[in-house]
Each structure stands twice: as structure tokens, then as C-alpha cells.
């Protein structure tokens, strides 16, 4: 299982890359591996506001649909439209192929997320 240093991680297996007030969000290697072949990504509309913990996107594998929960609150400012034609990019590289970008409304929420080491431990305990 691949984990990247410098990212923040949620218990729902999303990662967050922070750039100023922007949170770039995707799903982790652990998540893509347990989902299996991803065949569809349901992206949110740009401009939508979400609270931390809200389902903000849906990743569908061959076998099931899984919600992507927003690790932080904010407004959707960008979505990765490459995933519409090529959802399998998430399987190929889940950290390169982000899903959406939020303009955070409460960056303090980042403190409740795990760092790479903490997330790795969390996954080991879950397995």
C-alpha cells in the first residue's frame, strides 16, 4: 500500500493536499485497491458547498458504488474532468489523479486529519 508523505488523510480513505486555502482531494491507494476496477466517477458541480463529512463525489467500481466524503468544509472550485473519460486513472495512480479541489471555509479542520504515518497505522489496524 502506497502512502505519500506531506498529504493529510481521512478515516474514509481520502487524501488532501493543501495549497494555501485550496484542498486538493482524492482517494488513497488503499481505497482504490479495495474498490477494484473503477469504471465511473460521479463528480460534483463546481460551486457546490460541502461540510466536512458530506458525500461529495461517488466512485463506482465494477462491483459497487462508494461515496467520497469531503475531509474538510468548503466550496468546490475545480473537478478533474479527465476522470469522466478515464476513471481507471484512479486505479493507475490514485495520488496523481485527484478528484476535486475545495476552497476551504475552515482550514482548522485539517488538524483532525492524519498524517502519512498515522494513516498507515490506521490502515494496518483496519486490515
Amino acid at each position: 500500500m502506497k502512502v505519500i508523505n506531506g498529504l493529510k488523510y481521512s478515516k474514509d480513505h481520502e487524501w488532501v493536499k493543501v495549497e494555501g486555502n485550496r484542498a486538493i482531494i482524492g482517494i488513497t491507494d488503499y481505497a482504490q485497491d479495495s474498490l477494484g476496477d473503477i469504471v465511473f466517477v460521479d463528480l460534483p458541480e463546481v460551486g457546490r458547498t460541502v461540510k466536512a463529512g458530506d458525500a461529495v463525489a461517488v466512485v463506482e467500481s465494477v462491483k459497487a458504488a462508494s461515496d467520497v466524503y469531503s475531509p474538510v468544509s468548503g466550496t468546490v472550485v475545480e473537478v478533474n474532468t479527465n476522470l469522466e473519460a478515464s476513471p481507471e486513472l484512479i486505479n493507475q495512480d490514485p495520488y496523481e489523479n485527484w478528484i476535486l479541489v475545495l476552497e476551504m471555509s475552515d482550514p482548522g479542520e485539517l488538524d483532525s486529519l492524519m498524517d502519512a504515518e498515522g494513516y498507515e497505522r490506521f490502515c494496518e489496524e483496519e486490515a
Binding site: G36, F40, V62, A65
Partner: protein, 364 residues
């Protein structure tokens, strides 16, 4: 939770194991899409040892099975296989099964894993005195080798000429790796292929022998994930989805396996009535027009009104489309009919299309 004789094998191959019908089964090994492709292009090997095998023996065997099932076995040859629903008196479905005829006094019924106990109980409760019912599910392992290369692969390790086994026929006592096997040209994928019945304790040996024989053809072990999509593309019903105690075989579109004019069978009256007055809902194929994947249980609507639900659905790797089977109001069941599938509170457009989605590649 029950385990097949190949459980350890699946784990050692790195399979993701899931619970299915009370059994721990491999969902996938390398990936559902790859395994699906292997079956459509070359061949895939499935462990389907969870399926149940029930022997029906005795003088009254033929007549008894005639009463139990909706299809007609009176014209069956020895070493023929027949598919049939088995119904309750109200026309609801107990199970769908395969009948293997050895002779007029000996048949093997192959039933769905989740239904073994229920079926055996049902069959026992109707059994006349001149018939013996024996649940052999534990003694049999079953492998399915499916795909266009199946015959070529299997022929390398079997002496009997496989091209002589026609579609829905079988041979018994064939040797594979020194193990006596029953081999039928049957399957659940829409491809040519074989189902192989062997003693449970020989399952690993036969599995390994087939894998070795198939190596040069890149035959892959395939799991339930691939199997489910393969059968959905071929529009083959899965009990618990397209058939249930609440869904009759006529509603599921299985009319050609329901012989209403044969002598007395369980459910006959109700099914004749259904046929006469016309069914109110029918199983149809849907192709999504909007982007979204239909899943089991999703509601189907027309103008905001519920007309039925999805029984099975997903992304079809062969068609590169999102497809589903749905049980809907017969008024909207015609091909070309436009409906909505409710996906996460959104009404997404879909169209009723011809099934099967994938033309079956059987060797007749």
C-alpha cells in the same frame, strides 16, 4: 461460513474473498475487468463448488421431477442437461436449476448455493415413496472452464473427444489427472465452455491440472465478480435478483422453460392464470442514456411515478455501456421505451433494449 475445497487455493492466489450465499468465495484474483476479458477472449476457470447437487433416484424419478419443475423432461435423452425453474403453487420461484439425466431412474439436479437447504427440504416434502433424494453437495466440487479456448485447453488433459459433447450434453466417468469427472457443455457466461463435476477431495488436483494446461492460452482463474457481469451481459437470471419466491418465471421472461401444457406440475394453475390474464410486470433490459451506473434495487420511474426496479446492473466491459435488468410495469416494457433510473436521487434516462445484451457464443 462454508468453504469450498479450493478455499486455500484462492487465498494463496491472492483472491479477495467475499461471502456469497453462505459461502466464502473468490470475488476476484487480479481484477474483474481482466478476468472478464479472459473469459470473453480466451478462457477463465471458476470454482463453483458452492453449487448444490441433489441426486434423484428411483422408479418414480422422471414423474417426480416432472411435477417439481416447469420445464418438460419427458423428451430428454440420456446424458442431456435441461434448464428449468422450480415453482411454488402460487407461481413464485423456489429456484432455477439444471437437470442432468443419467437414465429414466437417475437424475442429478444442480441448484443454487444459497438455496441448497431450502430446495432439499422442498423436494423431500413432495417426494413419493418410490423415489430417493440424496444431497450430494458436500461430496462434489464443481469447476467451470468458460471461454472460446475452453475446448482446446480441456482436450489436452481429457481423452474423451470433447467436440462430441454438444451444447447441454454431458459425459460421465471421464478421467482428468486420474480423477473421474462428469463434464457438461454448459455454463453461465454466454461463452462456450464446460462445467466439470469431481469429488471434493480431488478439486485442487484438477484445478491445478487445468491451470497448467491453460497456461499457454493465458487462461486465468476468474471470480464471482467477473461471473456476475458475464451472466448479466448474456441476460442469464440469478436467483435472488431476477427470480425469487416473489417473481415468477413468466415475469422473468423464461416462458420457453415453462411448459404450461405438460401434465400436472407445481405452480401450473397459477402460471396458466398468469399467462391467460397477462403478467403485470416483466423483466427487461435497460441501457443507460445518461451517465450513471444502475445497481440492484434502484427504482425505475416514468414521469416521476415508480414502475419497477433494477434487479441487476453495472458497467458492461464488452459493450462499454451501463446496462441493467429491471422488473417493470409491462406497459413500459416494449423495446425503445424511455424510462428513468433513480441514481442517488437523480432521474437518469435509460432505454428498454433487446436482451441478451451480448449474443451468446454457444457451440450448438
Amino acid at each position: 461460513m462454508k468453504k469450498t475445497p479450493l478455499y486455500e487455493k484462492h487465498v494463496s492466489l491472492g483472491a479477495k474473498m467475499i461471502e456469497f450465499g453462505g459461502w466464502m468465495m473468490p470475488l476476484q484474483y487480479t481484477g474483474i475487468l481482466q478476468e472478464h476479458e479472459a473469459v470473453r477472449q480466451r478462457a477463465g476457470l471458476f470454482d463453483v463448488s458452492h453449487m448444490g447437487e441433489v441426486m434423484i433416484k428411483g422408479r418414480g424419478a422422471t414423474e417426480f421431477i416432472q411435477q417439481l419443475i416447469t420445464n418438460d423432461i419427458s423428451g430428454m435423452c440420456e446424458f442431456q442437461v435441461l434448464y428449468s425453474p422450480m415453482c411454488y403453487p402460487d407461481g413464485g420461484t423456489v429456484d432455477d436449476l439444471l437437470v442432468y439425466k443419467f437414465d429414466a431412474e437417475r437424475y442429478l439436479l444442480v441448484v443454487n448455493a444459497a438455496n441448497i437447504e431450502k430446495d432439499v427440504e422442498w423436494i423431500e416434502s413432495h417426494k413419493p415413496h418410490d423415489v430417493e433424494v440424496e444431497d450430494l453437495s458436500e461430496q462434489y466440487a464443481q469447476l467451470a472452464l468458460q471461454g472460446p479456448k475452453s475446448q482446446e485447453v480441456l482436450q489436452r488433459i481429457v481423452d474423451a473427444p470433447l467436440d462430441k459433447i454438444k451444447f447441454f450434453r454431458f459425459v460421465d466417468g471421464v478421467s482428468i489427472a486420474g480423477v473421474s469427472a462428469l463434464i457438461s457443455r454448459t455454463g453461465y457466461t454466454g461463452e462456450d465452455g464446460f462445467e466439470i463435476y469431481i469429488p471434493a477431495d480431488s478439486a485442487c488436483k484438477v484445478w491445478n491440472t487445468i491451470v497448467d494446461a491453460g497456461a499457454e492460452f493465458h487462461v486465468m482463474p476468474a471470480g464471482l465478480g467477473a461471473r456476475d457481469m458475464l451472466r448479466l451481459e448474456a441476460a442469464l437470471p440469478l436467483y435472488g435478483h431476477e427470480l425469487s419466491a416473489d417473481i415468477s418465471p413468466l415475469e422473468a421472461g423464461l416462458d420457453r422453460f415453462v411448459k404450461l401444457d405438460k401434465p400436472d406440475f407445481i405452480g401450473q394453475e397459477a402460471l396458466i392464470e398468469q399467462k391467460g390474464s397477462g403478467i403485470s410486470r416483466k423483466l427487461v433490459g435497460l441501457e443507460m442514456r445518461d451517465k450513471g451506473i444502475p445497481r440492484q434495487g434502484y427504482e425505475v420511474q416514468v414521469e416521476g411515478r415508480s414502475i419497477g426496479y433494477i434487479t441487476s446492473g453495472g458497467f458492461s466491459p464488452t459493450l462499454k455501456k451501463n446496462i441493467a435488468l429491471a422488473l417493470i410495469d409491462v406497459l413500459y416494457a416494449a423495446q425503445g421505451s424511455q424510462v428513468d433510473v433513480i441514481v442517488r436521487n437523480k432521474a437518469l434516462k435509460a432505454e428498454v433494449v433487446k436482451i441478451p445484451f451480448y449474443a451468446k457464443q454457444y457451440k450448438k
